[in-house]
């Protein structure tokens, strides 16, 4: 599945979660969106393949939850102390959205090795074509809709709060 679908899905999820838990909103949303494409660092094997380097198996761990979690941990270390655990958890949430979407894809053979190294089993729901553009379009449209609706809502709430503040200061 393409990265546009992944980041749109992560954005929608964060926007909805932020209604209840503000920690998922604001600048933290982009961390979940980054987490949503971290497993696809694995795709570096494609340009390497063009150069004649076969690295699909060496890089496969990036696209396995245990490997992605380690990558999330390493990436979180680049953030300032005191925020690292939260950053790691936000990356991990993004990672979970990635596997949730990729699990829907059609594969002729193989699939996601979600439980590796405990199990070599591979799973796939075989529902969506990997080159599907309609799903991406729907997700991006939904993300834009959610953004606009929440912006209007937040502006109204902000305006109401300002009016209330002005009224109380007048009194």
């Amino acid at each position: 599945m393409d990265w546009m679908a992944h980041i749109a899905f992560a954005f929608i999820l964060c926007a909805l979660l932020a209604l209840r838990w503000p920690v998922f909103g604001g600048r933290n949303t982009v961390l979940v969106m980054i987490g949503a494409i971290l497993p696809d660092i694995f795709k570096v094997y494609l340009p390497l393949q063009v150069l004649g380097i076969y690295a699909q198996d060496s890089l496969a761990l990036f696209h396995i939850p245990i490997g992605t979690l380690l990558v999330c941990g390493v990436c979180a270390l680049f953030f300032e102390e005191g925020t690292r655990v939260r950053v790691f958890l936000l990356f991990a949430l993004g990672m979970a959205t990635h596997y949730a979407l990729d699990g829907l894809l059609i594969h002729v053979s193989g699939g996601l090795r979600l439980l590796w190294p405990l199990s070599w089993g591979a799973w796939q729901l075989q529902l969506v074509r990997p080159d599907n553009w309609l799903g991406t379009t729907i997700l991006v449209a939904a993300a834009l809709l959610v953004y606009v609706v929440l912006k209007i809502r937040n502006d109204r709430v902000g305006r109401a709060e300002r009016t209330q503040d002005e009224m109380s200061s007048d009194v």
Partner: protein
């Protein structure tokens, strides 16, 4: 460092053992010992190089295979096929996934656009502090203004 070491060890373990846990041998395994896999189901991925009646040529990573199938494909399509390997680089297709050339290219175009959007969004909210070598939240203009107002007061 510990995380990176753990990653390298797990990656090495995966790479060393993956061939024993595949549903079907891939082109890499087949090309290394072709005779061993004749008569078995294998999976080959590649691009359609030429089409014919009842078959087409699939250009993989290590060679070109003749795929015996009546599936309608066009030159340039990206195909993954599972089939029975036959002598002479032939494969009788059992299952196949065909991605038209344009659709498979558009996946990369969309992903590239998404990457640019994500980089812009990230640096709107976060900044890299080169001195401390850490990523910090970027202060919003409103926050900066409030802070300077407080200092003035």
């Amino acid at each position: 460092m510990l995380l990176i070491c753990a990653f390298v060890v797990l990656a090495a373990y995966y790479q060393a053992n993956i061939t024993q846990h595949l549903d079907y041998p891939r082109e890499g395994e087949v090309s290394a010992n072709y005779a061993k896999y004749v008569g078995q189901n294998v999976t080959i991925s590649g691009t359609v190089a030429a089409t014919d009646v009842g078959s087409f040529q699939l250009k993989g990573l290590y060679g070109t295979y003749t795929i015996l199938s009546s599936e309608a494909v066009q030159r340039g399509d990206v195909v993954t096929v599972v089939g029975t390997l036959q002598p002479g680089h032939q494969l009788r297709a059992v299952a196949m996934f065909v991605s038209p050339w344009l659709l498979s290219e558009l996946v990369y175009v969309r992903s590239f656009i998404a990457l640019i959007v994500l980089v812009v969004l990230f640096f709107m909210s976060w900044r890299f502090d080169w001195r401390a070598f850490v990523i910090r939240p970027r202060e919003k203009r409103r926050d900066r203004d409030q802070l300077s107002e407080r200092k003035v007061e």
